[in-house]
Amino acid sequence: MRRAGSRWQAAVSGLRGFIDKIKPTFSEGGKMAWLQSTFEAFETFAFTPNTTTKQGAHIRDAVDMKRSMITVVIALMPALLFGMWNIGWQHFSLIGGQSSFWACFAFGLVRMLPLIAVSYIVGLAIEFAFAQIRHHEVNEGFLVTGLIIPMIVPVTTPLWQLALAVAFAVVIGKEVFGGTGMNFLNPALVARAFLFFAYPTHMSGDSVWTAAKWWGTDAIAGATPLGEMMGGGIRPSASLLDMFVGTVAGSTCETSAIAILIGALMLLGSGIASWRIMLSVFVGGGAMGLLFNLIGANSYMQLPFYYHYVMGGFMFGAVFMATDPVTSAQTNIGKWIYGLLIGLFAVLLRVVNPAYPEGMMLSILLMNCFAPLIDHCVVAANIRKRKKRWVRAQTVGSGQRVAGSNKDIK
């Protein structure tokens, strides 16, 4: 044990020595200075830097952007692994063959890996290039975005379309605004929307959701629960339990409510995602569903409200996309409003809009646009309060005021 430990230490210090040795080549004035941001990205990947605090707080919290992002990536793992298995399960169910758990998983893995690889390679290449041009460090935001994009597209998405969508999302959705932290639309949803509007035939209909052949699609594939409801069904043919577990057709990794909920627990437990947003999306969606239940004009409106939670991308959107800290509302009150409206609009779009089966994507993108306005109104209330207090102080005059006591600062 001890020897293994010292060997490990030797390996780590050897790596550190190697990095220190090649560092000058990549630094200002070195031969490969044009790759400085790339080098730094890999260096800080291997070692948390030795920078110390210069001014202000002398000690800092151990959390940084890398840690935050990797926590989200870990939270995505249950949904990703389940999605891989489900791709195989759907495939083998369709072609009628019997298959083991591992066969299903292996099939899904083989279908999923190219999507993930293309997403990361295209996206990171653009990110690195932009970081280099700006002389910035490479931002970690794409670690999450690059994984989410292949998780929310149909498994049959052609790789070249995915590559285009990722490029569009990173450049137009993020970098033109100045990179991570400056964008106002969720980049993963920008990619999804790009695919949806640019290649509608590849993104809708019943055939795209299941990998029937090894490559490409077959016309006999099963419909998604949302597709069935759009087609005028009374209830989705899959049971509530099937949809909760996720053994239904849909985008690669969005079908399993339970896997996504495990991820949600990780996000909330680690304090990375806002519980206010998550909860209010469910409340908003549920409220709209209940309202439709009361109206009950057609079979979709009569669908019990909780079905919406487990159908399509509602759960995935609520947990992983609505909570994106960059594009969501930033005030606590604003977060409630933002989440409620996402839930409301998602169900509204599903039920009354004949064109789009899935309302979650458009609903979140819409509220991304309104998040700054919501925040503005919330902050304006605070500003008005401060102004009123000032006016009151002017009229009462200094020294005359009675100071409050027994105050509880919440």
Binding site: T48, P49, N50, T52, G56, V63, N139, G404, S405, D408
Partner: protein, 471 residues
């Protein structure tokens, strides 16, 4: 009229090395320094030259903009050196204490009126300990402040709380003197343990508030916000409790005896304890024996490798060197290990000994044992936390929001205020409440920020911008 204030938002950082209840007398220290940079907005003008003899309370430096404001010598001695830094700015006036000491004295009978007290405080230099909000500058003696706020406790990490050593009679005398300086109230905030010992007879304008809750409950800014928030154009004054005691002694006996109990704290301190010193003491002499011999050879006064010496607390203190001096407003020195080493895959490792407000490290799942000392909470867990000055990551744009609000007990939107401060929009900053805060009030936001933004520097710069605009 006494009230209770409960602060819910905040964070007590579980750092080790609290000062033991033991006091050493260090008033024999030879070297003292006056550092004009300790005073916000002061433009120094020298009143002495190297080699001059000075007495206690004799002006050494005064403010060019308001010559009434003068920094005085805390001891009798000789001006040994005028230390200058970049662009010949005065870094410190170094005074060597002489064998014979005289005290500054005035007839106590002349110290019973507003004018008398202010005149004496200015003359002996105690006035520089009175600071105004907003901006944190030395108070202007011609102002009539809305209120005066005194915080009897320090909730910052390892903040000193020498209740047993406080002369409560002089404290009461000092508060009574302060109540003459304002038409408003003197608000005194203390912990529950202090409320029983706090008895002031005399002025009805002195109000005691019992404050509970985590840091920043002890910050003046938090207390002002909870009691009567500051409006644009209003001014309040504040003083550290030990200086109120000095003031009490001054008005009672007529003697000015600047003295301070200073806590040497921190995980890198060999014997965390209290010292009785004269303000402005040389840190090298105060810290004699505190830095273990293992670190001493590594200690380079110029860059402080090995151990970082902080005058003040770890959140908002000033980085100092062994040839420097205790900060004018500080009653704490913190010693902490420099974190200038690499951490292999630090972003991925479980992190049993890393402290984080978020629960992204395994340390966040460990059982916690809290205990209370002098009303401040401390925590130990099975592994202990390893604190050093490492930044723990790279600087990024402000991304994660919603966390600042959890450690910032003001009716202010911190994220929006910080953004307004970055772009330097004075109108917007005023609307969002910049006058209600000092950089130290946002120190916890800076601590927990995963983007590693230097929030306190941003707020200081913004406040300076507003101050220059308002003159």
């Amino acid at each position: 009229m006494d009230g209770k204030i409960k602060i819910h938002k905040g964070l007590d950082i579980p750092i080790g090395g609290a000062a033991e209840r033991r006091t050493s007398d260090m008033r024999l220290i030879k070297t003292y320094g006056i550092q004009p940079s300790d005073f916000v907005g002061l433009t120094p003008r020298l009143d002495v030259r190297e080699g001059d003899l000075v007495e206690v309370g004799q002006a050494v430096v005064c403010d060019k903009n308001n010559p009434k404001i003068q920094l005085t010598s805390p001891v009798c001695g000789t001006v040994k050196e005028i230390r200058r830094g970049e662009r010949r700015a005065i870094e410190a006036v170094v005074i060597e204490k002489s064998e014979e000491q005289k005290s500054w004295h005035r007839d106590p009978a002349s110290l019973q009126s507003r004018e008398g007290i202010i005149e004496a405080m200015i003359d002996c230099g105690l006035w520089t300990m009175v600071r105004q909000r907003p901006f944190g500058t030395i108070a202007n003696p011609d102002d009539n402040p809305r209120d005066i706020f005194i915080s009897l406790f320090d909730s910052a990490p390892l903040g000193p709380c020498p209740n047993w050593a406080v002369n409560w009679q002089w404290l009461a005398a000092g508060l009574n003197a302060l109540s003459l300086l304002t038409d408003g109230k003197v608000h005194v905030c203390g912990r529950e343990v202090q409320s029983s010992r706090f008895k002031v007879q005399g002025s009805e304008n002195i109000v005691f508030h019992e404050v509970s809750g985590p840091h920043p409950a002890g910050n003046i800014g938090t207390q002002i916000a909870a009691i009567a928030p500051l409006n644009k154009g209003e001014r309040v004054w504040t003083m550290n409790p030990q200086d109120v005691v000095t003031l009490g002694q001054l008005v009672t006996t007529g003697d000015y005896r600047p003295e301070r109990l200073v806590a040497v704290t921190g995980p890198a301190a060999a014997h965390p304890q209290y010292y009785r010193i004269t303000p402005g003491a040389s840190l090298g002499e105060v810290l004699n024996g505190q830095l273990s011999s293992k670190d001493y050879p590594k200690l380079d006064a110029a860059n402080g490798f090995g151990t970082r010496i902080i005058s003040g607390n770890v959140l908002s203190g000033r980085k100092a060197t062994l040839d420097g001096f205790l900060g004018a407003y500080d009653s704490q020195v913190t010693l902490i290990e420099e974190g200038d080493s690499y951490d292999f895959m630090g972003w991925l490792m479980p992190g049993l000994r890393k402290h984080s407000f978020s629960r992204t490290f395994l340390s966040g799942l460990m059982p916690k044992n809290w205990f209370t000392v002098h009303g401040s909470r401390f925590m130990i867990n099975g592994f202990g936390f390893n604190f050093n000055t490492n930044l723990h990551g790279g600087v990024r744009p402000l991304v994660f929001t919603g966390n600042f609000e959890r450690v910032f007990p003001f009716d202010i939107y911190p994220t929006q205020l910080i953004k307004a401060a970055i772009i330097g929009d004075i109108d917007l900053m005023e609307q969002l409440g910049i006058y209600e805060v000092e950089p130290e009030d946002l120190a916890l936001c800076e601590y927990i920020d995963p983007s590693k933004t230097e929030i306190q520097a941003i707020i200081r710069k913004a406040l300076e911008l507003c101050r220059k605009e308002s003159v």
